[in-house]
Amino acid sequence: MRNSRKVYARPDLCTGCRSCEIACAVEHSASKELLSALFESPPPRYRMDVQAVNGVKLPVNCRHCTEPDCLFACKSGAISKDLKTGEVQINLAKCVGCWMCVMVCPFGAVSPDMDRAKATKCDLCTGSASGPACVQSCPTKALIYGNADEFNAWRQP
């Protein structure tokens, strides 16, 4: 599991500009293009957000937990964990919108999409060749897509 890759953030580099949120929404829009995405209905949603507590800013997204509470709480079997990659994904076809996962997530990383009646969270932009859009968009490079060792090496001064 130590080799599973996810999006890590460095609060010391985050300026709180929220560019990652916009990039996330655009990546999950139908057109995948900012100007067209503006006119989509229902509007695209981002699956992460930048939180600020006591002056510390941090983009928060799904931690793809080793023992995901959301997975155990899901009554319809929509949430699964890939034991090889470590990714936790929601199968939208199975999601019934009961919001159990939303309630149990300790990070607040799952949110209810009322327009579509589905739970949404970071899917690591699976299918995008250039990797997670938030990482691409960050102007201060406060986000990294990698495994725990890569993150530790990166955050050392």
Partner: protein, 641 residues
């Protein structure tokens, strides 16, 4: 190293490749380090007006999100837009103020070297402004006209004098909409006041005030600049010259002037022809002196002096990276601060001359009218000295240069169309009414790294010519078309439709008329007024089969020009869109809502072929509303991708 596809101009591509080989970063490379662009800023949803913020609105939220003060997305984007328009107006108008002062100094005898070069135009202006001309010497007349127009900036009563040039119906439209500009500075100041924290928050009222400010640019600042530059330096006449980086010569002292004001560059043009200066250059081993321009300074000395043009906005750094420019003399506007870093890689001496525009670490030679000619000589001599320091191994001048004809104005087009003794817009209006010409379109504006350099200008103009549209151009768009050979009369045969060819052949004009710099967009307004006055195609500007296109817009000045065109009844196609896309209400107001007040609107589209198609449909709709003849010749519909 892969070939760049950043430009449609081969000279630019090869110069850019050369720069990359030498590891010199230009605007394109710097732009890449800025990607991805901040979406909040790009959409106009970032507000930095007060110090509770910065605030930004999530464009995808369905909630009625507000900034700290309660401003919603409409207020925020409309305020940002209004501020851009005021800055653009301020730029053109402060340029105009400088020209006014030069005229006044000339009249007072404080500016040796300057003179009234077009006394006829001065006399006409005086009559128009209600100044009695009898028993007045030329100097006194210049002083009176200079004072009158200087007062336009700060007067406390009345409205701008040149508004009376517009058709009566147009003036009434402005009155009804409450956008008649009072004084130039006042409109800029009022816009800054309105957009201050906690003042105007209604997006419609903000945008109408921006329209009034923009009109103070088009019918005020820009128009004054054009008129008085004509008075001081002579009204342009058609001239032949050359364009593109290939005008620089390896064996000559190359001096490039860049910026917007002709006040110093006219003196440089004069000094560059002086025998002593030429001899000095020759004594340093050079074959001669090439004085070439970039941006609108280029257009100004091209129009009046026939000086060659080295390139447009995105070529400013590439002129330096040819390694062959001994001195680059810059004044104001569109001068990239990045030039200083690029010039450090070469022997090129960069010189700032305006006290309003200095660059840290760059030599500043303050320009004052009373020493103008002497300053010009000094600059040229130091360039000749610098010629000796040129490193031939680093010189790579692209071979491309193209012939062009420039120098068209609202007045002399008159003569071309009707002949010297019966100058008239009749042939133009007749051509439109008979269906030979579909209409007249102004293709103007800048370059931007967000669009392939020159590509949109060329694609749109080619399409318009094919559809029998007479194109008038200014600024960097004109230089783009000149580089592609579209400013020669011969080009009519290659690009123009049959009806346009007939008109061009009968009158002897190119199908694309170069009308000058960006303040010279005021010439296009006057030409439109003349078309209305000639009759048969509408009572105000909004009924004419005309349009404006700025498809590679970059500056706040471009936004101001776009808005005064729309507020003057000319529908304007603009790309990239000003920063208003984050507010659907403001977007709709600009692209549709303004139609009610002005009979024109903005169109935001990024595809040049769709823009051309849109322009043609717009002209056809105007023609249909006027019940004009159908077009005489069908267009072979071979739309190129």
């Amino acid at each position: 190293m892969t070939k760049t596809n950043k430009s449609a101009d081969p000279a630019t591509i090869s110069a850019h490749d050369h720069a990359r080989q030498l590891d010199v970063a230009t605007a394109w490379e710097r732009h890449e380090t800025m990607l991805p662009l901040c979406a909040f800023g790009d959409l106009g949803l970032c507000c930095t007006i007060c110090y509770m913020g910065p605030c930004r609105i999530d464009p995808f939220s369905k909630e009625d999100l507000r900034g700290a003060c309660g401003a919603d997305r409409n207020t925020i984007s409309a305020r940002n837009f209004t501020r851009a328009v005021s800055a653009g107006t301020a730029a053109h108008s402060d340029h105009a103020r400088g020209v006014c002062h030069t005229l006044l100094d000339t009249a007072k005898g404080k500016a040796p070297g300057y003179q009234v070069s077009d006394p006829v135009k001065l006399g006409k202006l005086a009559t128009e402004l209600g100044i009695k001309t009898e028993n007045l010497s030329q100097v006194d007349l210049a002083a009176k006209v200079g004072h009158f127009l200087t007062d336009e900036f700060g007067k406390q009563d009345g409205t701008l004098a040149f508004l009376k040039r517009a058709p009566k119906v147009q003036q009434e439209r402005w009155e009804r909409a409450g956008v008649t500009p009072r004084a130039i500075d006042r409109e800029v100041v009022e816009c800054l006041h309105r957009t201050h924290e906690g003042v105007d928050s209604d997006y419609r009222s903000l945008i109408l005030s921006a329209a009034r400010c923009a009109l103070a640019d088009g019918w005020g600042g820009s128009m004054i600049a054009t008129e008085l530059q004509d008075v001081l330096f002579g009204s342009p006449r058609p001239v032949r010259s050359k364009v593109n980086l290939g005008v620089l010569k390896a064996d000559c002292v190359n001096v490039v002037v860049h910026g917007h004001e002709p006040v110093l560059s006219e003196m440089l043009a004069r000094a560059a022809r002086e025998v002593e200066i030429l001899d000095y250059a020759k004594s340093k081993g050079a074959a001669g002196i090439i004085l070439a321009g970039i941006c609108c300074t280029a257009n100004e000395i091209l129009m009046r002096q026939g000086m060659p043009v080295a390139g447009n906005f995105l070529q400013q750094e590439l002129a330096v990276t040819t390694g062959a420019v001994d001195s680059m003399v810059v004044d104001v506007q569109c001068v990239m601060p990045g030039l200083a870093g690029v010039a450090k890689h070469f022997h090129t001496k960069l010189i700032t001359t305006s006290n309003k525009a200095r660059i840290a670490g760059v030599d500043h030679v303050p320009f004052e009218e009373r020493h103008a000619l002497e300053t010009a000589r000094r600059i040229l001599r130091s360039a000749a000295d610098n010629f000796c320091r040129r490193d031939p191994a680093r010189v790579d001048i692209p071979p491309q240069s193209m012939d062009l004809v420039a120098g068209f104005t609202a007045e002399n087009t008159f003569h071309h169309l009707g002949g010297t003794y019966r100058g008239s817009y009749r042939p133009l209006n007749d051509g439109i009414m008979a269906g030979r010409l579909r209409g007249v379109v102004g293709v103007v504006g800048c370059n931007t790294v967000r669009v392939q350099h020159d590509y949109n200008h060329l694609a749109i103009v080619k399409e318009l010519l094919k559809h029998d549209v007479l194109v008038v151009e200014t600024g960097c768009a004109a230089i783009a078309c000149a580089k592609a050979g579209m400013l020669t009369p011969e080009a009519a045969l290659e690009f123009a439709g049959k009806g346009l060819q007939e008109i061009c052949a009968a009158v002897g004009i190119p199908p694309v008329l170069h009308m000058g710099s960006c303040v010279d967009n005021s010439r296009i307004l006057i030409a439109c007024c003349e078309m209305v006055r000639e009759g048969g195609i509408g009572d105000d500007l909004s009924q004419l089969p005309v349009a404006a296109v700025a498809a590679e817009a970059m500056s706040e000045k471009a936004v101001a020009i776009g808005l005064y065109a729309v507020a003057s009844g000319i529908t304007t196609f603009f790309n990239p869109a000003p920063r208003v896309l984050g507010s659907p209400e403001v977007f709709n107001y600009l692209t549709a809502g303004l139609e009610k007040d002005f009979g024109a609107h903005w169109v935001f589209d990024s595809d040049p072929h769709k823009i051309a198609q849109g322009v043609i449909e717009h002209l056809d709709a105007k023609r249909a509303a006027l019940k004009l003849h159908p077009m005489l010749y069908p267009v072979e519909m071979s739309r190129t991708a």
